[in-house]
Assembly symmetry: C2
Homo-oligomer: 134 residues x 2
Amino acid sequence: MPVDQSQPTLRQKQLLKELRGCCDEMSGQQLHRALQDSPYAMGLATVYRNLRQLQQRGLVRCRHLPTGEALYAPVERDLHHLTCVDCGQTLPIEHCPLHNLNIPKEQSHDFQLIFHTLEFFGLCESCQKGQKLP
Amino acid sequence: MPVDQSQPTLRQKQLLKELRGCCDEMSGQQLHRALQDSPYAMGLATVYRNLRQLQQRGLVRCRHLPTGEALYAPVERDLHHLTCVDCGQTLPIEHCPLHNLNIPKEQSHDFQLIFHTLEFFGLCESCQKGQKLP
DNA sequence: TTTACTGCAAAGCATTTGCAGGGCG
DNA sequence: CGCCCTGCAAATGCTTTGCAGTAAA
């Protein structure tokens, strides 16, 4: 049986709506804060529990900043990024060079693919100049 | 000026050697433990401090598990992975479909590229069957 | 002596977990 | 009643930072 296709719960729909309303991606903490003042406020634990389920349902994607912080976005938004290994700033790359990329079947290990992340790392312009750690 | 080209320090060389000796990738904690019994033992903080510098020198690459744990490998080893969003197991993918991938200049934001990560996420076979969270 | 690097221990912080309470069939 | 989901607070675990000592230049 594939990804869980049943209806997302109410809370999950609210999270998804918030993510879709945002132009890029949000962390668990941000989502928690963003909903705090709305009628849809929910505890931090609940945010994380549901984000995990949204991922497993194939509705949300996730990547990690160099800090280890996780950022979430709707799966259909295929964003990729450019991150500075020095200062940590991260910029979106539009027009992913790998639209609809797949893995050769021999290597799929029978996984059911949900999404992929493609991230580039390097030094941003100012860190190339500064060249000294912050 | 590009990536810091000066000689890596002694400690950095030791870390690099350890990484090169390993067949896949290692976390900061693993590196710390691995060196513990050798004549090259060093504190955990030192491990992390030098791993960051190795990254900035363009010698080491890094990716994050869904748990947020960071895994390091030599840059020249272009590994990519397949990770289960349910149980978290992660398998290496050989023969990266994107060898020597680059970003179109217009999108490079003048970054000096060091490495990229390409990670696939999905459900592994057993999690597809179980379908219930652990 | 000035600078760079280290160890240790103490934070820091995002995330997870335990557990009791509430909603709903 | 039993199940699922939630909030809260405590615990986890990786990583970073502060600081004083030490080695190098």
